[in-house]
Amino acid sequence: MEKVLKKKALGAFLKKLASFGQVYGPVKTDTVRFEPVSHEKQLCLDEHAWFPVKEFLFPQKQVFFRFDGEKIITEDNVKKAVLFGLRKCDLNAFLINDKLFLEGEHKDLFYEQRRNNLLLVGLYCYHELDEFCFCSSMNLQDYHDIMLYDRGSYYQVKAGTPKGEFFIAHLKDTEAFVPPPTTCSLALPTQEIAHLFEHQAWKEGADSCTSCGHCTNLCPTCLCFTISDDVALDGKGERVAEWDSCQYKEFTEVAGGHVFREKRVDRFKHRIYHKIQYFRERFDMSMCTGCGRCIRGCPEKIHWIHLIGKMTQ
């Protein structure tokens, strides 16, 4: 059954959610990011969060295990949290990340523990939040524990899972509502770009790229990482995983100093091909959610959607 949440009652709803775990939502400071919230006035619900919420699944730096001599110690990750105000793009990022970390032959159990301890509460977009959004061309799925639809003085509330159902059961019932599909002015012309691999225009984009890695850092589905050991003077230490970027030259360097993606244009293309071509060929869904963060946050203002637009004109 669908429900009604009066905007006046949002504060009380947040309190209800807090019984699951710490509530995080988009908060505007220098920029919009997910921070702990205890009051609805802290929320910024009309802008895109600059940073994605991927660190709730795979922190920028995490300890895989600690060691002390020959002893190896692992710790469970069971802190519960509610992510409130997620947009459809960021909700889809969970499905995409699951493919790599949960659904293959090998599984990352830390990812799974964190994943199972999240309650995902979405806020539906009828239109783009800014000129960088292009989710409407990315075939996103409906995926959430709870989804809110702004209907003026109230939110229409739907649950997507039994877990979500539990937290809205107390709200007043209402008739079902079919939301209009999200519209964005910006659109990716095609996800099929295999035939464009040798296109000259890639160079245009790559020529202004500085391989800074902001794009991969900001992308909700870029979770490439490196593994290394940190050791203290007393011999105790930890094996840690940290986000890495395919935009860095060292990313593919092997013994003897050979770098497989030595040329910047090859690294620039690899990211985009992975996002909309390679991943889709393997998993039948795009790895890009159309959130626009990699364009919004590129210091060189490289607009790869326009670039592909040019190639496919």
Binding site: F64, F65, E70, F251, V254, F260, H270, H274
Partner: protein, 272 residues
Amino acid sequence: MKKIKKLEGEGNHYSVPKLYAINSIKKQTEDEYLLRFDVPLEHEPAQFIQVSLLGHGEAPISICSFQDEYFEMSIRAVGNLTRKLCALKKGDKVGLRGPYGKGYPMESLKGNNVLVIGGGCGVAPMRSAIQYLERHRSDFGDVALYFGYRNPKEVLFAEDFNKWKKTFRVHVTVDKAPKSWKGEVGLITELLQKDSFDNTNKVAFVCGPPVMIKFVIALLKERGFNDDQIFLSHERMMKCATGMCGHCMIEGVYTCKDGPVFRYDGVKDLHG
């Protein structure tokens, strides 16, 4: 004997290795050491293991044997971790997790003649396939081994060659050699060119530096080999070995889980 399917540590995460004592460590060349672990591990020829020393990191190393009671790895000291590994003694413990990846699909290749072509340390993973061939000799036809090294000092597994000569055709060449070297001198492609092999019922295993691979494949194609008769082993930067970290990707292919051994038709059009 009951075989172990997976080397893995205690706890709840794939990254955790299990510590094993080295049962023997033997110097092979100036930079290469052979480590043996008396663990009955189930594996495919040329699968690899993530080998680590707590505090010094982890590296992918190929299994270079195919035996019931033990497995071996040949390690070349090239950097921080591999140098430390090569300096270890019998009884010292190292962390192991694996085996990972796809090795040579030997079962499905039964009945073929086999051409094994290896350069430099590319010979290590092939030794695993060769030991498989030794143990299943009657399931395969003619087997010819071609190995190329830069100079006699770098010749890996020299002591195996005499044994292999009894059952296989074995050719070893070095790029450059002092007078004392009794064997062939010259590039491996020159050696292959002299041989009049063709592609009848044959598969070729190729492993070595990129330049060598390029020339060898060109020659194989000249001799009528189809792409699906050629198997290549690729080396890429690896961290997780489980298809998550992204380091080993060649386009959309993961070297750690789709490889490191690939049939040529599946990877020949990939860039990088």
